[in-house]
Amino acid sequence: MRALDVLDTGLGNLRRRKIRTVLTSVGVWVGILTVVTMVSLGIGMQAQITDIIKQWGLETVFVSAKVPQQASGAFNPYARTRPDKPITPAIVAGFRALPGVATVEPLVDIPEGLNLSLLLAGKDRPFVLVDQSSREALFETKVDITAGQALPSGEAGRGIVLSHRYLSGQGILPTAEAALVGQQAVLHAITPRGDKADFPLTIVGVDTATRGGRIGTADALALKQWWFNAPDILQTDGYAQVAVHAQSLNAASQVATAVAAQGFSAQTLQLLLDQVNRIFLIVETMLSSIGVLALVVASIGIANTMIMAIFERTREIGVLKALGASNGDVLKMFMVESAAIGLLGGICGVIGGWLLSRLLDWVIHNYLTSIQVSIPAPFFILTPELIAAAVAFATVIGLLAGLYPAARAARLDPLTALRHE
């Protein structure tokens, strides 16, 4: 029998039972829809995080001081946990002298529990200061400068960059943003005890960050010195975090080794990226196993439908065998049928998964916009590889489900089959 005739016969049999075919394939498309949605979410999230990490450059090494074990878990905003070996300015200078290092950017954390407001354009306004050394700030999606310049880097960096989102929340029109650059703003800091201090800052620029604004390392240091009343805090506590940019990826790992040898914790972004990828692989597997469960159930449905179809067509199988159909011909005919059910389910599932991910993307973006968080990139990414794999997987599910029924049909004794009513 020709392959095309096998295909035509199998598909013809499906066309004769349209409703049953569609109903049977529903199980597959629900499963594939779930898998496609979940995996595309995983791919989307992974792409975002990878993108953020790559912005920093994989040649960046993050250095932080090691904090004594017993103190690291306790949370107390008024007492600071002193590291055994702080990253003092002298040590930063040492980092700069390491071979392969391009730039070194020390970061100072903002004390928690501060009540801040900002005198801006003649009005005192509530304000959120983003901690430059926090993970949130480090891994924010790509931030663009819309007016003025970026914050000057390095220990001596001074000034404030405000987010466009904060300004528009304060009723300052986008057209007025450019005029703000170069003006003075005053940061009012109030401790819970009522101590107050003013920090005059020059507005350096406006950016697309999610909220509030950021200040230069020198200004952050001044804030911290005042809060802890410790002018020598850099000598005792050191910097919260130092971003060491190496000249190359190879240099980065050498720098990381050298820094670790000095007794600091050093993390390269490559390491972090590997961890992120591993985590996402686990998450994707877990999420899509829900879909796989649906597919297992669907394959039982296909097998059931095929067994029914073969029972109904027993006599027909007998006639075909009497007319010269081989066992292989019968097997192939039924395998085509069950594979086609899987394929149909796979195609519907991919289309359904695409629609669902578009919908969820839209819902999430609307929600994030409503809470003033803007992440422009899509959360769901449907790659051609994913589409192809999903459709192929669905077809294989159909084939596997049809294997037993089709083998049973192929082995039918023609005489018994011909006597079947």
């Binding site: 006639v319 075909l320 009497a322 007319l323 010269g324 081989s326 005489l415 011909l418």
Partner: protein, 255 residues
């Protein structure tokens, strides 16, 4: 060679009176089935030759083994012992693949209940054996159409079996049996589901096909059907009771 042709013919030049090898040769064929109540011997030591171009009727009461014999000839079943030669193949020893080829190329089945595929048109039903044999679509379509013309159903080729009368359905089934030009036609009660007038016309058609050179084995319990045959083999309890050679005068078509 030229010498031979130059001299006047003598009796030496006539064909030797040695019979051509038979198309079918059964040698001591036995078929036992295991039934719930113990083994049943459906065919019990039958030996029979059927010549190429012969029309043989197998007659007997139900349970006489005539249908079992037909199924054995068609390669749908295998004997418990004995030899079944069709052309150059011993069906008792043949492999699966060879049996499939036998069903495709050597035999054409005609059933009592027609056994047409209900969702296919008359034309597609006739195409079926050729499709299974791997004949290209254009060729088999043309041949199926020609066969439907031959059995007198040219205008009905697009009709489904449900739209055809019993006689028409059996004609489609006969056309289907002819599709792969099988030399041996096997018919199991071909007129069993037809009224006598329709049955007679179907038998006429089979008779004509036999005259055109096809070997025909018909299972029947109807003496009227058997009367079309050259030879009637009477069976009882799986054994040959007697073989009746029809005299040319006794034939209904008066050949």
């Amino acid at each position: 060679m030229t010498n031979l042709l130059d001299r006047p013919p003598t009796f030496l030049d006539l064909p030797l009176p040695v019979a051509a090898p038979p198309l079918v040769r059964l040698v001591d064929v036995v078929r036992r089935y295991k039934m719930g109540s113990g083994p049943v011997t459906a065919v019990d030591g039958i030996s029979l030759d059927i010549a190429r171009g012969e029309f043989v009727a197998l007659m007997g009461a139900s349970g006489s083994g005539k249908s079992s014999l037909l199924n054995l000839l068609g390669g749908l079943d295998r004997p418990t012992s004995g030899e079944i030669w069709v052309a150059d193949l011993n069906l008792a020893q043949a492999g699966k693949r060879a049996l499939v080829e036998h069903r495709r190329r050597q035999v054409g089945f005609i059933f009592q209940s027609f056994n047409l595929l209900l969702h296919r048109s008359a034309l597609e039903n006739v195409e079926l054996p050729m499709m299974l044999a791997g004949v290209a679509p254009a060729i088999r379509r043309a041949r199926a159409a020609a066969l439907l013309v031959e059995v007198g159903l040219a205008e009905r080729s697009d009709h489904r079996p449900s739209e055809l009368s019993g006689g028409e359905q059996q004609r489609v089934a006969i056309a289907r049996a002819l599709a792969n030009e099988s030399p041996l036609l096997l018919a199991d009660e071909p007129t069993g589901n037809l009224d006598s007038a329709t049955g007679a016309s179907v038998m006429q058609l089979l008779r004509d096909l036999n005259r055109a050179g096809r070997t025909l084995v018909v299972v029947t319990h109807d003496p009227g059907v058997a009367a079309y045959a050259d030879r009637t083999v009477h069976l009882r309890d799986g054994q040959i009771l007697r073989i009746e050679q029809q005299t040319p005068g006794g034939r209904e078509d008066g050949r």
